[in-house]
């Protein structure tokens, strides 16, 4: 056997192989979509965190004298100590005289909290059920029938139904949005488990006597991380939209909490005269969801194994 030829053949293939698979995560954070979406999202997070110091006043403060002002109107406030102060309401006020700018800025907190909470809870619950379904054969049939049933009820309707049972509140709205999302995560995780457990490397691990739980956590579960992050991103975006829709319909978060949906719901009746009550929160809402979706697209292009295999 000639050693030189072996070396040559193998080194050629090594270089070919190593160019094929760079770190996916590195590629992901360099993806322009991820950068653009991530930047907008980071700004939104900053706005949420810094809401009290961004020139806002109490978003729930009712001011009968300053009702229904157009954006840019100067309003005189009576402060608690009896003195007055002037302030320009850059987004106007609503029919209760609450400052729309402050409400929109504080609304960022609600929307982002709902988005993040729904994504994390749905992914956690879905992953556990998906793993059980993919691994415990006799339970698989039952679980998947229930998931099929849940998926057969259009998502928003299911959320509406759940809200109507539980009565509105931030936590109940979050869970009402989580329930219809869970089956989607379950299906994803289950399909990854079923695919990966057929992989020769998993069979190899079985034949060297690896116990099931190590098999699960070391060899199978890591394969779900990338698709779940992608899925979680899209779930967060959708959750923010559903929360806004529920609140807009008056069946979501209680109206005193400043969420974008609530601001718009409040502005519906006087929309013809004061469209700003809908447009400003609408722009923030659309921008936030857009940012998350753009980021999700970028993440999917780089992390989704199906796509990366083709490149």
């Amino acid at each position: 056997m000639s050693a030189t030829i072996e070396d040559v053949v193998d080194s050629a293939s090594i270089s070919a192989a190593s160019t094929k698979r760079r770190s996916l995560w590195l590629l992901a954070i360099r993806n322009p979509n991820v950068i653009i979406g991530g930047t907008i999202l980071a700004i939104m997070l900053l706005i949420a965190a810094l809401a009290p110091v961004l020139g806002t006043i109490d978003p729930t403060r009712i001011d009968p004298a300053g009702r229904n002002k157009k954006p840019g109107t100067e309003i005189t406030y009576r402060l608690d100590d009896g003195t007055t102060a002037k302030r320009v309401a850059i987004m106007g006020t609503d029919s209760l005289g609450r400052d729309v700018y402050s409400r929109v800025i504080y609304g960022t907190r609600v929307s982002l909290a709902v988005g993040v909470a729904v994504a994390i809870i749905a992914v956690l619950i879905g992953t556990v059920i998906g793993l059980i379904s993919g691994y415990v054969r006799w339970l698989d049939g039952i679980i998947m029938r229930i998931m099929d049933g849940l998926m057969a009820i259009p998502g928003i309707l299911l959320a509406i139904a759940l809200v109507s049972i539980w009565r509105a509140g931030l936590i109940t709205v979050i869970f009402a949005i989580v329930v219809p999302d869970v089956p989607r995560v379950v299906r994803l995780v289950r399909s990854v488990v079923l695919t990966v457990r057929e992989e020769p490397y998993v069979e190899g691990a079985i034949s060297v006597g690896t116990p099931t739980w190590i098999l699960m956590f070391r060899h199978i579960l890591p394969n779900t991380v990338a698709p779940l992050i992608v899925q979680g991103t899209f779930l967060a975006a959708a959750a923010i939209l559903v929360e806004a829709a529920l609140s807009f319909l008056g069946i979501g978060i209680p109206p005193e909490i400043p969420s974008w949906g609530n601001i718009m719901a409040e502005g519906r009746t006087l929309f013809r005269v004061f469209p700003h009550n809908i447009f400003f929160p609408g722009i923030f809402l659309a921008l936030t969801v857009l940012a998350i979706n753009i980021m999700g697209d970028g993440l999917r292009d780089t992390l989704d194994p199906k796509m990366s295999k083709k490149v």
Binding site: D148, L150, I153, L157, L249, G250, R272, G282, A286
Partner: protein
């Protein structure tokens, strides 16, 4: 073929059963006495007792379910104490605007999204492709009610071309009906177009990578023939699948859109029922929408056989 249809039909039974159980349990999981909940907030104790015997609430839960599902199967959806009507009557009254909205949206959205999706795939990487993809992301992200109000603001308030809100029955005044359908359908279409154009593009792209497309090109066929005859037909199944799944989005969107445009449809009815905690109506509407959703997807499953001979087993 018949065999296939029968098997698909049988396969939806467990799904619908689970849906029925979930909808049934919904009320039973509500805190408080289900009879009192059904009767609404202003009911007398006699009314409540009456409901309790009617639904067999003193019986074991299995018996209750059997009674309930029996009623549902006979089209006896119960009575809405809030609207003072049977739920069946309510639904019959409210179905037209929703159906009209759904049909207009479907025709409009599919008619636009499939061609632009195919074009985007065919010219992958071109300006057109990027515009379509960009539109699709935006379309996903802007909520229906914001789009609705924007459209109202521009076309109804500023330009005054179309009425702001309201509904006229198709039989009463067809032109008035159409006028009032334009903006709602447009609103509801945006998300749908975003979804379907994107999936169409992805499916066509995937098919264009298949070996048989290479074979078709090796035969000397023109690009147009390769696209229309070979790619599109093979991409039809995933596109149809997504149109079917998109019905769920359509139904959800209808709830919001009807509220924005003041259409007296089933979506509006759902919201009113939730606001007044009218449970028999909520249950019936959810059950009905789910059945429609499942059946539409069943029909789509069956229609696969028209596109893909491999499914006829």
């Amino acid at each position: 073929m018949i065999d296939f249809i029968v098997r698909r039909l049988i396969a939806i039974i467990p799904v619908l059963t689970v849906v029925a159980i979930l909808v049934f349990l919904m009320l039973r999981l509500t805190p408080g006495d289900p009879a009192a909940v059904i009767a609404g907030d202003n009911a007398t104790s006699d009314q409540i007792a009456d409901i309790r015997t009617k639904l067999g609430l003193n019986e074991p839960i299995w018996t209750q379910f059997v009674i309930w599902i029996g009623d549902m199967l006979q089209g006896n959806f119960g009575e809405s104490f809030f609207f003072k009507k049977t739920v069946a009557e309510l639904i019959a009254q409210r179905i037209e605007p929703t159906l009209a909205l759904a049909v207009c949206t479907l025709i409009f959205a599919v008619g636009i999204s499939v061609p632009i999706g195919v074009l985007a795939a065919y010219r992958q990487g071109s300006l057109l492709d990027r515009v379509v993809m960009g539109f699709s992301v935006v379309g996903f992200s802007v909520p229906g009610f914001v789009i609705g109000y924007c459209l109202i603001y521009v076309f109804a308030i500023e330009l005054g071309w179309l009425p702001v809100q309201g509904y006229i029955r198709i039989g009463v005044n067809f032109w008035g009906f159409l006028e009032r359908m334009v903006l709602p359908s447009l609103t509801l279409s945006v998300g749908f177009i975003a979804l379907i154009s994107r999936i169409t593009r992805a499916s066509v792209l995937e098919v264009l990578n298949e070996d048989y497309i290479r074979t078709a090109r090796a035969k000397g066929l023109s690009n147009r023939v390769v696209l229309m005859r070979h790619a599109l037909r093979n991409a039809a199944v995933p596109i149809l699948t997504v149109i079917g799944l998109g019905i769920a989005i359509l139904i959800g969107g209808a709830v919001v859109t009807e509220s924005v445009f003041g259409l007296p449809g089933l979506g509006r009815l759902t919201v009113e029922a939730v606001l007044s905690r009218d449970f028999p109506t909520i249950q019936a509407v959810i059950l009905m929408f789910s059945v429609v959703y499942v059946v539409v997807n069943l029909l789509i499953d069956i229609s696969y056989t028209l596109f893909d001979p491999r499914i006829r087993y």
